[in-house]
């Protein structure tokens, strides 16, 4: 089963839920945990063991042969992203604007443009335990094509009885790419108007994509009525309410997992996994 953990608002505890869920489930089943928050991947901080095997992620960018180029400017006129500019004596290329569509090579009447690979990130695989693999997508600093790195990370993850995917915050294209193909989405929220506002947007995305979802209310101070009302209205189950405790903040903040420290938490996270599976199988 393929579960994506998403939230809309950042910092609600997606990584905390994904890491604890994966760790807890891996006690009895093989689990692959995938970090698709490629702009700020953090899951590896909770799993210091495991030898990292790094593969580059590249995109194709134009490589212009100056001997063939006649400076006609067709490539620059075609590029919708402003990545090519025809100057007096050469064509300037701005790689950070290139979306790797390949159009310039097609548009060039002289056949002067070949495409070469340019690295924009990495996918790192780690075996944390015999039943837990971690796959991390990392976008290089200064790059923008997060979606390409997400695709590679998901491809490297492959299939497993449980694939748990950590999404980036927000609701735009990286989140949609991460959610594509998921069986279920856990929406992590917190009991503030910010958390609720962004939960509603994130829920919209899952609803439009036809992906079933459930909610985890994190760092609860007990004043969660609005979040519960929203879930009732939309008929989304509340899978768990995790209270705000300084102890939890300190354990997680230091790179540990509450489910590794405390068997009761491990059982609670296993129960969240079982609830997701039951909802998915029931649908």
């Amino acid at each position: 089963m393929n579960i994506t953990v998403a939230s809309g608002k950042g910092g609600t505890g997606k990584s905390m839920v994904a890491a604890n869920l994966a760790w807890s489930l891996s006690a009895s089943d093989p689990v692959t945990l995938v970090d698709c928050d490629v702009e700020e991947p953090n899951l590896h901080l909770f799993f210091p063991d495991g030898h990292p095997v790094v593969s580059p992620v590249s995109v194709l960018v134009p490589d212009i042969d100056p001997d063939r180029c006649t400076l006609c400017g067709e490539c620059a006129r075609f590029c919708a992203f402003g990545a090519l500019v025809a100057a007096k004596d050469r064509v300037l290329f701005f790689p950070e604007h290139c979306h790797s569509c390949g159009g310039c090579a097609v548009a060039c009447p002289e056949g002067a443009i070949a495409e070469i690979a340019r690295p924009i990130g990495t996918v790192t695989e780690r075996t944390i335990s015999p039943s837990l693999r971690l796959v991390t997508g990392t976008l290089n600093e200064g790059e923008v094509l997060a979606v390409k790195v997400i695709q590679k990370a998901k491809a490297a993850a492959g299939n497993a009885p449980w694939v748990i995917i950590d999404a980036s915050p927000g609701t735009s294209c990286p989140v949609v790419e991460t959610l594509t193909g998921s069986d279920f989405c856990i929406l992590v929220t917190e009991s503030t108007p910010f958390g609720l506002h962004d939960l509603a947007i994130a829920y919209d995305v899952t609803y439009q994509m036809g992906i079933q979802s459930g909610v985890v209310i994190n760092r609860s101070d007990g004043k969660d009525e609005a979040a519960h009302r929203f879930c009732e209205e939309k008929k989304i189950p509340v899978l768990a309410v995790i209270p705000f405790e300084r102890r939890i903040a300190e354990i997680q903040g230091s790179g540990n997992l509450i489910s590794r420290r405390d068997p009761a938490w491990k059982e609670r996270f296993c129960a969240i996994g079982r609830a997701c599976r039951a909802l998915w199988e029931g649908a």
Partner: protein
């Protein structure tokens, strides 16, 4: 005009709380811009009255005319974004995946593809008690968030260019919208939190900011939740030659203020005092 962006790398560290507080306590003419366009929250504490709204057009999307298309599949093969699937023998464009590159139109031998404008969000120009606010809302799941960020910054500049401060609430992450947010700013204030994730993400956002040649300084929010890592963050700032602006303690008043839809500096609380002294320090340097 000084352009100050409040960013974080990691989400949920308190960017919006800090931005809302500065909006309230700053005494100079200012305009606020919420560049976290896929989950805009600044409006929830600045209580804006919307003066104007307009549609935001993203990149054009391809459209295949089914009356002309011969289903040869050349466009689908050429599309690098898997945006032209075939269903029941018919090719059509998935607008959610289309990046607007126009390669399909270029390669179509029948001239069946046209590019059409698409609305992917809405831009608002508003009045608040503290000055104008430019904010936006991206259609959930849409692309073009970087483009929208650039648009609303431009709007703020054209309408309120005479202000002393453009105060920007940034998005999390280090990708497209973040780069659009900090491009052209004078100063970036990174709000981090004392956790391994907060520190890790701080390092990455600092690297991106420096690549864009803006001044970077750092505050730690909820600093007493893990004093050991707060120490590591201070060490990192010292070693990386970053200005450390101060710490904000964990304070339940912050949540209370957010629930009331008000800046925390409207309350007499430890977090308010800390933000005031951070702003005193920063504003002395800015002007």
């Amino acid at each position: 005009m000084i352009r100050l962006a409040v960013v974080s790398g990691k989400g949920g560290t308190g960017k919006t709380v800090v931005t809302g507080a500065i909006a309230q306590i700053c005494t100079r003419p200012r305009v606020m811009v919420d560049c976290d366009v896929d989950a805009a929250n600044l409006e929830l504490i600045l209580d804006p009255h919307i003066l104007e709204r307009k549609d935001f057009y993203g990149m054009e999307a391809a459209f295949i005319d089914p009356g002309i298309c011969t289903a040869c599949g050349i466009c689908s093969d050429a599309c690098r974004f898997d945006a032209i699937p075939i269903t029941d023998g018919t090719f059509s464009v998935d607008p959610g995946r289309c990046e607007g590159c126009r390669v399909c139109r270029l390669v179509c031998p029948s001239g069946a593809v046209s590019m059409q404008p698409r609305v992917v969000g809405e831009i608002f120009y508003s009045q608040t008690s503290y000055g104008n606010l430019v904010h936006a809302c991206l259609i959930p799941g849409a692309a073009n968030s970087g483009l929208l960020v650039s648009e609303i910054k431009k709007l703020a500049l054209s309408r309120n260019g005479d202000c002393d401060l453009m105060l920007i609430d940034g998005p999390p992450g280090i990708g497209c919208p973040l780069i659009a947010t900090i491009t052209g700013t004078d100063q970036v204030l990174v709000v981090t939190e004392p956790s391994v994730s907060g520190l890790h993400d701080l390092e990455r956002v600092v690297q991106v900011s420096r690549g864009l040649r803006t001044q970077v300084s750092v505050v730690i929010n909820k600093s007493d939740l893990n004093s050991r890592i707060s120490g590591e963050i201070r060490d990192f700032c010292r070693d990386a030659d970053l200005v450390f602006r101060g710490e904000i303690p964990y304070d339940e008043t912050v949540m209370e203020a957010v629930r009331m839809g008000r800046p925390v500096t409207g309350y007499d609380a430890p977090a308010s005092g800390a933000i005031r002294s951070i702003w005193d320090n920063l504003s002395r340097e800015l002007w």
